[in-house]
Symmetry: none
Subunit: 413 residues, 2 copies
């Protein structure tokens, strides 16, 4: 295919829904005014998508891995590396990453506060980070970065590390930090390193200026580090290697940025982009257009707002989030429609009636100026069921987008 | 998902059909009056299903394994264990089970009658069963149970048994019982045990009172046991283990009960439930409702009658069987509709025009009070083709049912 285009994937988080009584049985997507999405539906191909598989409720991380073309069952590295990338701490194949908390323990390592009071100043965070980042245990190097409040990301770098170990976080107060055990023989080294790290971190943290000050103020000390959710950066090839493309992510939430960076996308920051309904849709549109014009081959745009509204059971706000995304997409196609292949979809359903992820398939529309349209005229869960894509899976999206964009070579001769 | 429901799977055996001339080109399902199925179709999601895969004609056993969520290609244990469970003789992982016949042989083990006259009194069956059940050969224990007429189920229990051996049944008279050979090296022990068993069984059977009496009456002696259809109970986790659910089967036919029990369902007997058109549909409805109310998480209801009518080429009776099942399902949804997720389908097509299983996909409707409906208004092979489920496979049914019922945990975070 000679005419290469930029593949653009717009994901509205938690888009799919069920009939809502206050909307006369319509879904929020059906009730929303979406002239641009409806144009895409009319000119493009529509379908339903089981992001993981029929009946499976996707998590945000597994759903996005699938949408990026990675088999969520075989290639899911666990939450650690994805969060770590999101926090700005990049892992490499073989690293084991954890989510972490600052915690308060007594001298017997009994947990008194799993969040060490939760609030930290930037100065406190910087001192604590410096105390932990760079620790070496045996031949393993510890990388650490704080994120928000008491949270952080921790990465172990070294030979022969595996994620299959038991938890050190007792997940309740009044209990001692647990001893990590290997769940497979190869993971013994990792368990040993983590157990040593618990003591070394405690030794390094307890004497810090931060804790002297906190003691004076009667605030819980940050004298221990609890790690959880280990995951190993696997050897899957990132997108640039797999497809020979330059890929970008435009997202407000750390997990989405992290998952995208894990598979080799470059994060393009947008002023005013957040994970809420007040995110700056205009700036996102402008930056997306700019990124396309710069020659990126693939751009992933993530809008978190519909999922937040779903979790809050806020039908009106979900409709608003969808309508604002519609406007944003309208700007993109008006400006660069002729040079892109576009998919608009969700990562999972989050019915406002239940306020959490559900297994219902999500609608997807695939559009380009040259694509064969089907008979669907409106973008919705109901109309999509009658489209030419029928039912696809999340891992089908990337081949479809990149195939039509001209980045997948003919298979065979 | 907090709102858990009971998943109910109603299978009409051999449901799918082709246009029938005497019905003006309609299928029996289209010609049947099915107000309840049509309500489900209107309020639910419809589709077509290739129970095994496109173009593959399912057997009854493989079709049901698929419908229960087991990969029929990788996880089919062969007929032996399924028949054995159906006969009431439960196997455990590692056991090798066979179907068996009483037969008549001469002193050189030449088969004179493969069914030993076919008719047996309960007393004769009991004496023969006692002679074979409990035989030990090397370290292998033989379990045996008679079923109907000359038939029975036989199970070998012991270490290192495999099903890959050649047949001992010559499948015609005038030929000697064959020597079983191993089809893979590990199965040599099983072949040896079976070959010894053929002689031991003959020794034990020939002198029985039953055979003295049969000799007096000139009835063929039951002095040999032919085994066939070996299958090994594999290590696949049963449903309660795989999904943490309590599962029940309501069926009249031994093979269906056996296959369901093999995957861990509990058999709920129903007075008057048979495999024919005269089965007591009212009692089946009542017992299904009772089982749902008792808190079972999954209930499988099997109706054999449509398949019998298909094999007989009896269009009228097939329509009647479908209409009676429709009434039965109506009672269930009237009483407990609000607490179930329901799928109604077939295990394969059995067109009345050909009187046997065929590869044509079957219609399926998935219904619950909260599910997103599609635009289909009638339950039929033709209407289902326009539904939101599009084309699924048999192994998708269980994830769909259990996903919407709330028994599959979110995958990822």
């Amino acid at each position: 295919m000679s005419d290469k285009r930029t593949a653009v994937l717009v994901v509205m988080d938690g888009l799919g829904d069920r009939p809502v009584q206050e909307l006369g049985g319509k879904t929020p997507l059906q009730a929303a005014k979406t002239p641009n999405f409806d144009r895409l539906a009319t000119e493009g191909q529509n379908g339903l998508m089981n992001v993981i598989g029929p009946g499976i409720t996707p998590g945000s991380d597994t759903a996005h891995l699938a949408l990026f073309g990675y088999d969520p069952v075989k290639e899911y590295p666990g939450r650690g590396p994805l969060e770590s990338f999101g926090a700005g701490l990049e892992t490499k194949p073989g690293d084991v990453a954890f989510r972490s908390n600052f915690a308060t323990v007594d001298s017997d390592l009994v947990v008194l506060d799993r969040r060490a009071g939760r609030d930290f100043t930037p100065q406190e965070q910087a001192e604590l980070q410096a105390a932990i980042d760079g620790i070496e245990i045996d031949d393993v190097k510890v990388h650490f970065i704080t994120t928000v409040e008491h949270r952080g990301a921790l990465v172990l770098s070294g030979e022969g590390l595996y994620a299959e170990i038991t938890d050190v976080d007792p997940h309740e107060t009044g209990k001692k930090i647990l001893t990590a055990r290997a769940l497979r023989p190869e993971a013994q080294k990792t368990a040993d390193v983590v157990n040593k790290l618990m003591r070394v971190a405690h030794e390094r943290m307890r004497g810090l200026e931060t804790n002297k000050e906190r003691a004076k103020k009667g605030i819980p000390l940050a004298n221990a580090l609890l790690v959880r959710g280990p995951g190993r950066h696997s050897d899957v090839p990132p997108l640039p290697e797999r497809y020979g493309i330059k890929a970008a992510v435009i997202a407000g939430g750390a997990l989405y940025i992290g998952t995208a960076k894990y598979v080799g996308m470059e994060h393009i920051p947008v002023e005013g982009q957040t994970g809420t309904i007040d995110t700056n849709f205009d700036n996102i549109a402008t930056k997306t257009i700019e990124t396309i014009e710069k020659g990126y081959n693939f751009v992933f745009v993530h809008i978190k707002a519909p999922d937040n509204a779903s979790h809050d059971g806020n039908t009106k706000e979900k409709i608003l989030a969808i309508e604002r995304t519609d406007g944003m997409v309208g700007k993109i196609i008006d400006r660069v429609g002729g040079r892109i292949v576009l998919a608009v979809t969700g990562d999972h359903s989050s019915p406002v009636s239940i306020g959490e992820h559900a297994c219902d398939p999500v609608p997807i529309v695939l559009w380009s100026s040259f694509i064969r349209p089907d008979s669907v005229k409106k973008f919705s869960e109901f109309d999509a069921a009658k489209g030419a894509l029928h039912t696809i899976r999340g891992i089908d999206v990337m081949p479809l987008l990149l195939g039509y964009s001209g980045y997948i070579e003919k298979f065979g001769a």
